[in-house]
């Protein structure tokens, strides 16, 4: 009996160690392998490591952006060369691929570049369909699975551009290509054939500070966003004549559970539509869309399970209703 107990303990210990080693090996394998030298630039042996407790010391208030996503840590390398401006490499290790994607989705501008040999996932790639890296004026931004990277040449030259792109290729080599967050699939490409999604303005986020930097609603967190929520926002446009185009803003938030979603909607109603508070009966509104004429057009929202969809600045109630009703709240596989 004693022998069996000891054997079992050893077995358990071995299994635990194997799992741990496996995880470590996976981390090592996934970790970008940056070259010691690129062109004439050379990096130090080890990076500066920044975590959630030191991020403000490294980048002041900019740290709020990364803490608004599920941030793990940051590794910073500075490549230097005699007579050349440095190249800064920042590798943001996020806790999920969705969070790394969200950081890239802050801005789809720049020149799309292909860094990886392996094709991107066949999943519906919503924003710039196959874009995972963007370059502009010396700055390369990369989404590679759970890493978001910024590689910046302080002075753009043909040589520094090649070095920056080479570093991008090195950091994405042998790393898997993940799909964009599933929540993006909730955005139809077109609505009623007239309203077209602005793919180049789709952003994925979790924080009200990020929302406010994309589409300002309030300086306070009136939708109850936090790291447990997911949100996506994008404009839709309708061209009414050669000169005139109308734009509405769609925002979808997914909460941890239906109770949180309902509570968030109550908060939003109280803060944003206080004059309609009497119309708002939390128990009876479930899944019924609501529409309100406010200063910048018609606002519509709908609560469904743990999701809220809101549309702003609609030209008329019919448009607001049609857009809200076109949202497919339940996606395949859910």
């Amino acid at each position: 009996m004693k022998f069996l107990k000891t054997a079992l303990l050893f077995l358990l210990l071995f299994a635990t160690l194997s799992v741990h080693e496996g995880a470590t090996a996976k981390m090592e394998q996934d970790k970008p392998d940056l070259p010691k030298t690129v062109g004439v630039w050379t990096r130090p042996d080890s990076p500066r490591v920044v975590d959630g407790t030191t991020i403000f010391k490294y980048m002041n208030g900019a740290g709020e952006l990364y803490l608004g996503y599920r941030f793990d840590h940051l590794e910073v390398y500075e490549y230097a060369a005699d007579g050349q401006d440095n190249i800064l490499v920042e590798l943001y290790f996020m806790k999920t691929s969705d969070d790394a994607f969200g950081l890239l989705s802050q801005d789809w501008g720049g020149e799309p570049v292909t860094l990886s040999q392996s094709p991107l996932s066949k999943a519906k790639l919503t924003p710039a369909s196959s874009v995972s890296a963007l370059y502009g004026k010396g700055l390369l931004r990369v989404w590679s699975d759970d890493i978001y990277a910024r590689v910046m040449a302080y002075r753009e030259t043909p040589e520094s551009k090649e070095a920056v792109l080479s570093l991008g290729r090195a950091m994405t080599a042998n790393r898997k290509n993940s799909s964009p967050p599933r929540l993006l699939n909730i955005l139809p490409d077109t609505i009623d054939s007239a309203w077209r999604l602005r793919r180049d303005r789709i952003s994925y986020f979790r924080s009200f500070l990020v929302l406010n930097s994309l589409y300002y609603l309030s300086h306070q967190n009136i939708l109850g966003l936090d790291l447990s929520t997911e949100a996506v926002t994008a404009p839709y446009e309708r061209v009414t004549s050669t000169e005139n185009r109308e734009r509405v803003q769609l925002l979808v938030v997914k909460y941890r559970d239906p109770a949180r979603a309902r509570h968030a909607l109550e908060q939003f109603q109280e803060a944003y539509l206080p004059e309609h508070k009497k119309d708002f009966v939390s128990g009876s509104m479930a899944e019924n869309p609501n529409f309100f004429k406010i200063e910048d057009g018609w606002l519509g929202y709908k609560l469904y399970d743990k999701r809220i969809a809101l549309v702003f600045e609609c030209p008329d109630q019919g448009s607001a209703r049609m857009i809200i009703n076109q949202i497919q709240f339940v996606q395949k596989g859910e």
Binding site: F56, M59, N60, G61, A62, E64, L65, D85, D107, G109, G110, G136, K137, G138, L139, R150, M152, Y154, R155, E156, L209, N212, S213, L214, Y215, Y216, L217, S218, H219, Q220, N221, I222, G224, Q267, A271, Y272, I294, E295, D296
Partner: protein, 294 residues
Amino acid sequence: MQDKRRLFTRRDFIRGTIGATLSASLLGARWAGATEEAARSSLVTVVRDQDVMDAAGVTVDRAVLKRMLDQTLIQFTGEKNVKDAWMTLVRPEDTVGLVPTPHLNPTHPEVFDTVRDALIDAGVPTKKILAAQGEIGKAERCSALIALPALKAHWLTGIGTVLKNYILYSGNPSRYHEENSAKLGEIWNLPDVEGKTRLVLVDALHPLCDKGPQPDPRYKWAYNGLIAGTDPVAVETVCLRIITEKRRALRGEPWPLSPPPICVEAADKVYGLGTSRMEEIRIEHHGWDLDLLL
């Protein structure tokens, strides 16, 4: 999540009632109505030179920059020579603190050096010119301050140029982010700061028109300018116009700063630091006029 005081939202901005809402909720101070104000006028000078930076926007030509600074002083004060111009702003017995922006599109060191050298030439002893960015003790040691911010947007406060330049004097900069950015003006009224700013000189050589939070060179451009005034709110208002127009030009459509820069109007209406109304600002431009954005 929220306390019970009135929140301000996008709707307040659209209605134009943000001031009243801010006053009732956040600031706890009287919001001066337009009709209560005496007629005001503030001069802001914009001096530009196409040759002040190289094509890459990296290297500053110090000789051209000096000419621009001299022109700024002459134009702003109306004096005939640069020394007299400086002496209308500071005295040789002053301890003059220069306050550049240290982060996110920082002030070019060449701007700092050129101003320091000009003060020395004008008669201020070298030992009485201090680098005064940082804790409040640095401002306390000075009898005069020259604000040297760089022109930039900011992702937590909308604009992060003039009013935000003294944020470290507060001792608690994070207290002035988000909605509390409306209170940035109060820092200018701290006992060791109030009334000391003799000149606001904005480094607009290579501004940053997007909010960041980290610099993206796609949103930097060669404006090649110095923007100056003694009214910090007026200078900020002109800076805001330039950034807004540049953003519109880049995208070919309105691209408003988000979040909106609530500190500017609050600095005017609550803290009385100057005017945020373009119709009360007289802009004098000199030099390169391509894409002036004003």
